[in-house]
């Protein structure tokens, strides 16, 4: 088996991996099942693809199960996802019935495993009704919510919450996302994977290739924003900030890199607005990248002098940590999870306007030493707080905590 722990020791430091090994000693042999709705694509699958083998290497009997469903089921769960993020959409009663039937079928298929597990982590709303279908369960069941539900659409939450209330605990990414549920709600922020294509070290020539491909002049300064084309990411505000800063750094280039818009009419509008704001400026590149362009994004982040994430609203915004991991100071919107990642004036800057972003770009480009020191601190900060190893440590801690939920302090012998 690939020695994953050794790879993470290289990235996060050997003491971090030693810590995980010690923390996992009392959990050896525990039967842990993770259930989600897809094995490939999306952030949850990416996390589980690493977390589960890491738990296995630590001696935990961990498995990863995926529920099956047809197109109708996934249309319904996509509606849930949108509603939990604030869209005023609800499935029909027929769709809800089908959603429950699919979960019931999946419960039948996995019953033996789920009944015998010591701990079951159910990820997001797709498999949430499984618990109801396993009355002879003997372990603890935890609902892990990866979605920003702080602006959830109430009718959909009202439908889902009776399923969720039966769980022994839940996990949210931020305190602001926690809900009124009758059980312990743990807080575990997301993380980046330092050995994934998006974050692994690259050779200088790989970065140069990407610069050449997109016509980026490596001899001139470049600022970058990587994000979906969404108004809350404020790409037009980024262009305004670039124009204000360029008056003092005439060679400055801007790259906006994000996904395409085949199935998202609003994204198409935002791309059009962004291209209009760019107004043919040859030093602004508005890139539409495929979902698997991880190496390209990695190279762009390494090529940038400063990275922006000028969101006006943000769930967590892990692109901030991705850039910081590459030693870049990030100028980010003063909102949501960006506040957890950017410590103002320390690992980057928090701003509220294009003018604020422009001022910070100007400052950093004219104080290169400060820029580099801030980038170094940013990388250290991510190493300590936002790598997958920290995420795993908190999962292990939750598993230990479940045995003594009422205690503030648990002493292991």
């Amino acid at each position: 088996m690939l020695d994953l722990l050794a790879q993470y020791a290289d990235a996060a430091g050997p003491s971090v991996v030693d810590h995980l090994k010690q923390l996992a000693i009392p959990l050896k042999g525990l039967r842990v099942v993770h259930v989600n709705s897809t094995r490939v694509g999306g952030g949850v699958a990416e996390i589980l693809a690493k977390l589960v083998p890491l738990k296995q290497e630590l001696g935990i009997d961990a498995t990863w199960e995926v529920i099956f469903g047809d197109d109708g089921f996934f249309r319904t769960t996509k509606t849930f996802h949108n509603a939990l993020q604030g869209s005023t959409v609800s499935p029909t009663s027929q769709e809800l019935r089908h959603y429950e039937e699919v979960n019931s079928e999946n419960a039948g298929r996995m019953r033996e495993l789920l009944e015998s597990a010591d701990i079951v982590f159910v990820h997001d709303p797709q498999p949430a009704p499984l618990l109801d279908q396993v009355p002879k369960r003997r372990g603890k069941w935890i609902w892990r919510c990866h979605i920003d539900v702080s602006r959830r659409y109430q009718p959909v939450w009202d439908y889902l919450s009776p399923f969720l209330k039966e769980y022994d605990a839940s996990i949210f990414s931020l305190a602001a996302f926690a809900q009124n549920l009758p059980h312990t709600q743990y807080l575990i922020p997301p993380s980046i994977d330092p050995i994934s294509e998006k974050n692994m070290p690259l050779e200088a020539r790989d970065v140069q290739c990407v610069q050449e491909k997109f016509g980026i002049d490596p001899s001139r300064e470049m600022v970058l924003q990587v994000s979906r084309y969404d108004r809350f990411k404020d790409p037009v505000g980024v262009i305004q900030a670039y124009r204000l800063a360029r008056r003092f750094s005439p060679g400055l280039q801007l790259v906006l890199a994000g996904g395409g818009a085949d199935d998202d009419p609003e994204a198409a509008e935002v791309i059009a607005e962004t291209q209009e704001a760019a107004d043919g400026d040859p030093d602004i590149r508005v890139l539409l990248l495929p979902p698997d362009a991880h190496l390209t994004i990695n190279a762009l982040q390494r090529a940038a002098d400063i990275v922006l994430q000028k969101s006006t609203r943000e769930g967590f915004g892990l692109t901030v940590s991705e850039a910081m991991w590459k030693g870049k100071p990030v100028i980010g919107g003063d909102t949501g999870g960006i506040r957890l990642q950017i410590i103002d004036s320390h690992t980057g800057y928090l701003v509220s306007t294009p003018e604020g972003a422009a001022l910070r770009i100007r400052f950093l480009l004219h104080h290169r030493k400060r820029l580099e020191e801030m980038g170094t601190r940013a990388r250290d900060f991510v190493r300590d707080n936002f790598l997958l190893t920290r995420h795993l440590r908190e999962y292990l801690t939750v598993m230990l905590s479940l045995a003594d939920e009422g205690k503030d302090r648990i002493e292991l012998s």
């Binding site: 971090v16 030693d18 010690q22 807080l187 990642q341 410590i343 707080n385 908190e394 292990l396 292991l412």
Partner: protein, 226 residues
Amino acid sequence: MTEQQQTYYPPGGLSIKDCALVAIATGRRARNLRELRDGIGEAAAASVYYHFWGSLLRPTFDDPRFHNGFAIWADHALHNTALAERLSVIDPTDYPDTNELRKHVLDIVDSALDEGEQIATAPDDNLFDFIRSQIVVFGTRRTLDDPSELPNAVETMTRTSVFYHFIDARRRTPGSVDDFTTWLSDIDREKYGDLTTRLASIDPFFATLVETRDELARAFHDFFGG
């Protein structure tokens, strides 16, 4: 503090421990100073602990100006820098238990409320979330038999182990001191007097845990050589 007085240094040796902390939402939120005051008054001791101590292990700690959750929020969300400064200067080890600490925080917040002409309200996406924590403490199977082992041992400690021995110790030992000082003083107070004085001058509230570890290691190397 007296709530959880425990010692982990068997005579003749310092047993190296480590810990992990997990944060738990209490569901309580504050949008202004009055709600913060009510929340602090009613919060569980574990929540007061988290916002003063536990958060040292969380990313929010690294605000270089303010170093407890209440002060950071007063500055960042309410823009009340004067209150943030008064809250930030509180040293939780000065209080015998969480209730005394809580009482002092409430006095400061009450004074700010008395001074305020109008109550500032935090934006919807920057409310104060009352959080509590659970800390899991475990052994590392490593015991130091002699203080001369400290330089190398501390150099390779995890940041959480530094937190446990140098910060959390102040909450659980009778004299509110770190585990290294307790151990060295038990062995020979006079011999290690200069070293424990230097340890006392290391302020963990103004540095990251890694910086604190490096400073501790320097102090031990300087004293023991090597």
